[in-house]
Chain length 392, copies 4
């Protein structure tokens, strides 16, 4: 385990959760005190302040990177050198260039690589994706993902050099990969339009952004991200298809609602802003945030010699989309997604939108009206004229 | 009442609702059969297929326009000529040019004018607006409004000439005015970025669109509109401010949830798509869609010689914003909102985002952590360096 | 208007709401200051501290009683004497004996009488009742109503002599009439089992109670009432039938959710307990609590010479059920509902519960299983043996 | 694993979930085909149709009983004989007599025993219990648990001899133990009042029941159980305390909402009744139903030589409460809970309900009113007179 901060602890809690046979055998931290404390808390036999010492430790089969964004590349390269399997927290790089170097390095070295995109492993996401892939929503038209909260926990997020960006990079990386899964990972993201601003925080990076991502088949992805949201951690996805709709709420409304006058107050949930009044705790944060399912997939994939659901390649695609978002926020225009590596389909057309009603008409809409009869709105194939017709 | 269709009937139901002292005295429809039927159903003493006959009827004090978009201007001009008070369904015009002519005409004539923007009168909207104006959310950063459903009821909506546009004009007009109210009607909308596409329906107009509207004070408005949504009528607003958040759901989740195997099936709600399984009816559509509060304001305003909450001027501003949205969807760039008439504030700056922590630092974030202590993230005023500090 | 307190003001707000043609012409209060203030606030031309002066005022067509429970009977008798139409707040009497005297008096006098059971007029209730009566839920098996909050506003509620009881009488009266409507007003309530206790408040009356009400057709009514609930005003109904289910939430979850840090704090809703953190205001309390629809029905009924939906007779039945609840709480047994006046059906049997599957079997259950096939559970008509069978 | 049916498979899915080091080594089923299939599906090395062969298998450290209720005792006795650790599905026995024999046998044999009450292990339950025990709700006044669905999957549930009862035994066992945890496992359940009826199904056992369970400290437990509910699996708990309220929804409203026209239809969730329209799938049924946390506790407890959270003793107490419920449903009276073995506290009094306001008054209620001032309702300690006072 490289890193012993907030996210490293979340990972450790998950990896060693329940009746797991997996074990953290070495931990690296830049700060001795932090490394030692982590080792104690998680019963880790070896700790160090030298990254290579952890990576090269003989008992280590797989390296888990839980470091600030600007340290990912060096850590990955250490794994490449040591030929150790590697899994990395999100985002993969601070930009596509970094990500591409990491991708090429691990593939050249032939080592197992996993991208720790936990929100593509939440139970609700997996269940929904299965429905979407089964056709329950028809052709996907729009896939929005939203992550907003009052700002990250650790100081390095707020430093542009270490973080590489603001909430677009920190939160948008989740959203882009969520949308991409729903629309289809083999469908190419083409271009991005992004608005970003620093509305509240005294920082150079953006603290609020909204972007649209156009896919080759005409579907539209969207993200809404913010470090200025008040009320807790808002993690919601919405997907619209020709046959259905999905609303996913991963955190703030999950079926547990508590009112308390404040007696016996205590920790409620990650990024909760209050511990009195109406509160919305989550039952099991690790499970609801996808950590359990994510590590299960990573370790099983490695054992079985297959790719996990999320790889460095996915991390690279996400970075390329986010790069376009940053360019767009500056240029105020749609910016192309520059993908030097692309392994999905090419040239996918938007499906035809014409539904035949009969020889003369296309069907625009069919609806049951007040009195129980059915009304259709039709378009003449020749003249283009629109008419309505009520049938029993 | 000019118009006897779907919306005219909703209006009539509201105007003559409960113990109202107001009465529809004449109805005009282009089709005799429809006019006659409306007159019977609502006990209206006079009906006609000549618009002027209705407008000029001596018992008519106020004219209510419930006609397709392309007939608004002619109807307004008839009222101007007759010097009758006039209220018009939304949108005011098919574009800002039409809207401006109507605005100038009614103001020159000195007649009462009201813009029937019902969604700015829903009970939830009014309650929320009061909270927002009272400061419960602090400075407004983002105001999103979403209206999506499976497409309108009447054939003229689907005809570009009559409607003047697709879902942007039909639904976006609501959303723009909702956002504008939350952000402040005196704050100028500056520019618009819009994505619009015809994803499903065999029509020349857009059936799905998303747009961002930038306001002079740095706030961002957003609309999401669609005629391709599956699942009913989705009417939701979300507002984020520096001190709070509001989520409004006007239709699909209002506290009434019914499961039925389908026995005794009947009408559930406007644009509901199913009458078996889990259903979410609304208790009183007229009230929940704002019609009762809207007409109360319109008639009281007229009686008291004051302006209603929503006037032709507001309708004109909305049209100007939508015109910019249409231009942006084509040019793929941010497009300026062209407001030849503007009565709000000018030159409003974004508020400073710096909060002093002490002499040396700005405050970035304050948070209660697991163990109950408080952590602050601070920025050095001179060096810009970010640090974190945990205090008891 | 007899009474100028909390409920009188709610009534006045509703009666004179929107564009109402109805007008309060006289107000009586026991306290001069309160009467005068009410008259000012609602623009009432006449006020008095003599009840008869209000009742007999020549402009008064209908008397609305909004007084503590122990004063209802005297007020009704004054109306009887004056032969004025009368509507009374809930509960009708402190017990069935009082209620019966009032019922007999108004009927003997032949005056219009209405029972102001507002929760049987909420938009959600009316919509649901229509569905239930249309058969959407099949045969009703269970109808629960819950009203709990942190305790009433005025001091007289807490005084046993004036109130006549605790939360059973104050809140249970709503619940009983709600259940009765869903199960069918013509179905006789037979017996009641009630638990009641004073768990928190320093009062002789009960502050928490739960009761079951058995109806002649085998349906079960239930109420849960409390003056010790924390979190606001909880108004929920649940109805189960053979074909469906309804969940109604009238107050705490109606689609309006607000988080606020507490800046700009103000009144949120009746009996809300907090004005920071997550809040759940209602848009229009008067409408959502049923006042508008209730007075519309009362006044229209009187104008049209018909009975309103809720009459003194209904109030009497409710009191008889509550009397049985109080007896049961003491005797710890099911207690019969004593109805000396009963105008519904008699001798209604429970419907047979046997559904034929084929000649040999009754159907117990049918279910779609994982693999998409259908499983039925059947009971042999002769042997009673239960088997399961999976069919394509 | 004894049993290879619906619940046995749920257990196997959980036990071998994620990266578990635990393994099922032998499976027993009464039907050879079922045993063989289970062994294949879960990669179990040994299967048998002889119960003792499974129990005595040398690789078996712990026996998991997943059999119909009437077979629990024999299976437990086989474990006792073999001195193997044993965990049993709920309910422990068909009645307290059976449960007591099992409890005494395992304790006499000194073997590890666990009671598989999964709903006392759901993530939401564990989180809520922690809050309740931390005092966030103050003194618990009422703890209700509701489990209703359209009826069980397997035919033996519908047979009175095998099942030992209807929905009270099948579902009430969950509810009783949930309430007991919230109120305090050391607080004695004293007496039960129960209504039970066969409203719909052609069976001798009850298909719908409601009961109240009185605890020695004045708290009230409640259960609502039914096999006739329409709409899915309804699993909800509500807890009221002097300082707060909790609403838990484990299944039908957990933040995942899907509308589908029915294309691509497939399995949604346990006991879901529909696969079109609005659906409410759960993300991860095993996790949300508590199975993962339950087996983790069971196996860890056994490894650590400690008791698990839920033991045979708890199962016995639950059976004793349910026995009282069945007696009450017949006698129509409150029936005492007969606990020959009781290990909690005795003679716990209800806490005093008097809160001092000052020397003269007790506080009844404090409330913020419309204008922002505070109103208190007070009771004179001497005279008992109730007054109200408004303070700034």
């Amino acid at each position: 385990m490289l890193g012993s901060g907030f996210i490293g602890r979340f990972y450790a809690d998950s990896i060693q959760a329940h009746r797991s046979k997996d074990k953290i055998v070495s931990v690296y931290s830049r700060r001795e005190q932090s490394a030692r404390k982590f080792a104690e808390d998680y019963d880790v036999p070896h700790w160090t302040t030298e990254m290579e010492a952890a990576v090269n430790h003989p008992d280590v089969d797989m390296v888990c990177i839980a470091l600030p964004n600007n340290l990912h590349e060096a850590a990955v390269m250490a794994c490449v050198k040591a030929k150790k399997a590697v899994i990395t927290t999100k985002p993969l790089g601070r930009n596509a260039e970094e990500a591409k170097r990491m991708l090429e390095a691990v593939e050249k070295a032939g080592i197992f690589n996993g991208y720790l995109e936990d929100l593509c492993y939440t139970p609700k996401f997996l269940k929904t994706l299965e429905s979407v892939q089964g056709g329950a929503l028809g052709r996907i038209l729009w896939a929005k993902s939203r992550e907003t909260h009052p700002g990250p926990h650790s100081e390095w997020f707020w430093d542009l050099e270490q973080a590489g960006g603001g909430c677009i990079l920190d939160l948008g990386c989740h959203c882009v990969e969520i949308s991409r899964n729903y629309i289809g990972k083999d469908i190419k993201p083409i271009e991005v339009m992004c608005w970003a601003e620093t509305q509240v925080k005294p920082i150079p990076a953006e603290d609020h952004a909204i972007a649209l991502v156009k896919y080759e088949n005409g579907a539209i992805g969207q993200f809404e991200v913010s470090w200025t949201f008040r009320g807790g951690l808002d993690l919601r996805d919405e997907v619209m298809g020709t046959e259905g709709t999905v609303w996913v709420n991963n955190f703030l409304r999950t079926g547990l609602e508590m009112f308390t006058s404040g007696k016996g107050a205590h920790y409620v949930a990650e990024k909760a802003e209050s511990n009195t009044g109406w509160l919305f705790p989550v039952g099991d944060e690790l499970a609801d945030l996808g950590y359990n399912h994510m590590f299960t997939d990573m370790f099983n994939a490695c054992d079985e010699g297959r790719e996990p659901r999320e790889t460095f390649y996915d991390g690279y695609v996400v970075n390329a989309v986010l790069d376009a978002a940053y360019r767009s926020a500056k240029s105020r225009q749609w910016e192309p997604v520059k993908l030097e590596i692309w392994r999905g389909r090419e040239g996918v057309q938007q499906e035809s939108t014409l539904t035949d009603y009969d020889d003369q008409y296309y069907l625009i809409k069919e609806e049951v009206i007040h009195d129980g009869r059915t009304k259709v709105i039709l378009k003449d194939k020749q003249s283009g004229k629109v008419i309505e017709k009520v049938t029993a």
